[in-house]
């Protein structure tokens, strides 16, 4: 029998502020965290959350992860330490790039001052697994700990992997999520060079005028627990993590397969894993990057996975319209946004939407939040995350 898994705590640091509920409330109110073409987590002051030593010994992406994890653990009622045997508590945190700010700064040191002046902390700060290692160390999580690396699907892959660990009996609880702080000159220039980012600096997913994604930074963390164990300790679950699936396009280094076939298969398999039908889906939190290619392929994928008729009725919105693209953190932050939207039974809006494009004809919840179907129906949603490399990861959640 498959073990049921619940989410008991969430935490997020995003361009909309510090706190998962802050993200949900501000996005739902139509507030944008994007300024001057970037989604900076400008309200995050590391020293408010971390000791001097922690700040010095972590790249910004790890600092964001530490703050998000702290919030999630307090939310789950773990303030006094893990309510589990530490060896049965795991930690999986994804990132797209890792500590690129550290790498960039140390490269400047290398060029200008020489190899002797490189910080001995360079590698431990920039390594992509630093967030999971440091969060595990801080909270004494002694089960499996590692990072997932799948570009903009990394956060969702991490959560999916955490789900499987509990289902497989390898852990009783997992602190999971994603973190990214890639607003470094080299990354900004490189995304621009490949034409992936928006020249206008406006994130407008699914709109005919969309011209690329807006880079953002942040972190999202979730506490997953075996449902029976959570119940035993008297925890109030926020949601059930019903299902997960991941596929690969095997098509192109960066471009999604245009028909959305791989993404559709991930959505279909996630529904199957959750044991629900397409009719049960109340809301879809799209990957919705605001790139010409993703939003078209994803629209196709949603139609294939849910069927044209249902796809036309189910609200689909993109968190990236409000915070930009958080890359490896996106899948985690957006899973949290999905969870809180389902709990409030509200579809937050796709901001900056104005001009429809032929074939992009789903209900994208333009510009204003809308209530989701209320009453007896289960509050079930999908959260999509796709990444360069052709990675597709989809989570299926049900608000408790």
């Amino acid at each position: 029998m498959t073990r049921s898994v619940v989410i008991t705590g969430v935490g997020a640091v995003t361009p909309l502020g510090v706190g998962a509920r802050t993200l949900h409330e501000r996005w739902s109110a139509g507030v944008s965290g994007i300024e001057d073409g970037f989604g900076r987590a400008s309200e995050f002051e590391p020293k408010d959350h971390l000791s001097t030593k922690e700040v010095r010994r972590s790249d910004r992406f790890t600092q964001l992860a530490l703050a998000a994890a702290q919030e999630a653990l307090e939310d789950a009622g773990w303030d006094g330490g893990a309510p589990y045997d530490p060896e049965r508590a795991a930690c999986v945190i994804g990132t797209g790039i890792g500590g690129i700010g550290t790498l960039e700064n140390q490269h400047i040191v290398l060029r200008e001052e020489g190899a002797e002046r490189i910080s001995p902390l360079s590698i431990p700060l920039l390594m992509a697994n630093a967030a999971s290692g440091v969060v595990a160390m801080k909270h004494n999580l002694r089960g499996q700990s590692f990072g997932t690396v799948s570009a903009c699907a990394a956060g969702a892959h991490a959560i999916g992997q955490a789900l499987r660990m509990i289902q497989n009996g390898e852990a009783d609880a997992v602190v999971t999520g994603g973190a990214e702080a890639a607003l470094a000159d080299v990354a900004i220039a490189a995304f621009a060079a490949m034409g992936a980012t928006s020249e206008s600096g406006i994130s407008r997913p699914f709109d005919a005028r969309r011209d690329g994604f807006v880079m953002g930074e942040g972190a999202g963390a979730l506490v997953l627990e075996r449902a029976d164990a959570a119940e035993e300790r008297g925890a109030e679950p926020l949601a059930h993590l019903l299902g997960y699936a991941a596929t690969s396009d095997a098509h192109h280094l960066t471009a999604p397969e245009p028909s959305g076939r791989g993404a559709a298969r991930a959505m279909e398999l996630a529904l199957k894993d959750a044991g629900i039908a397409a009719e049960d889906v109340l809301y879809v939190n799209a990957h919705g990057t605001s790139t010409p290619l993703n939003d078209r392929a994803e629209t196709n994928a949603i139609k294939t996975a849910l069927g044209e008729e249902l796809a036309a009725k189910i609200p689909v919105s993109s968190t990236k319209s409000a915070i930009g693209h958080l890359l490896g953190a996106a899948g985690a932050v957006e899973a949290i946004a999905t969870l809180l939207a389902l709990r409030d039974r509200i579809a937050p809006p796709t901001l900056n939407y104005g001009e429809p494009e032929d074939g992009l004809d789903l209900d994208y919840v333009p510009n204003e939040a809308r209530p989701l179907q209320n009453g007896d129906v289960r509050a079930i949603g999908l959260s999509n995350a796709f990444g360069f490399g052709g990675h597709n990861a989809v989570l299926c959640l049900e608000a408790s």
């Binding site: 000791s51 001097t52 030593k53 922690e54 010095r56 010994r57 002797e116 001995p120 902390l121 431990p124």
Partner: protein
């Protein structure tokens, strides 16, 4: 190129560095061990870089091996300067 510095100056610079590394300022004194200040080998490499920048003396890994207290680190810099 070594420069001249008094013991007090070196000690003061080491104290400041340790504080920047995250050691509690009220715990920092000549007799404190690095272990008690939660200062590890990665911090000590950085301390050696600072000392080299400031005083022009090179502290190698083997020099640092037996350095367990703040005073010993200041002694080491003094001996290199002499």
């Amino acid at each position: 190129m070594a420069v001249t510095a008094t013991r007090e100056e070196i000690e003061s610079r080491v104290f400041t560095a340790l504080e920047e590394f995250g050691a509690e300022s009220d715990q920092i004194n000549p007799d404190a061990t690095f272990e008690s200040l939660d200062i590890d080998s990665l911090d000590l490499v950085e301390l050696a870089q600072i000392v080299e920048d400031e005083y022009g003396v090179q502290l190698k890994g083997e020099d640092m091996e037996d350095v367990k207290t703040v005073r010993q680190s200041v002694d080491l810099v003094m001996s290199k300067l002499a």
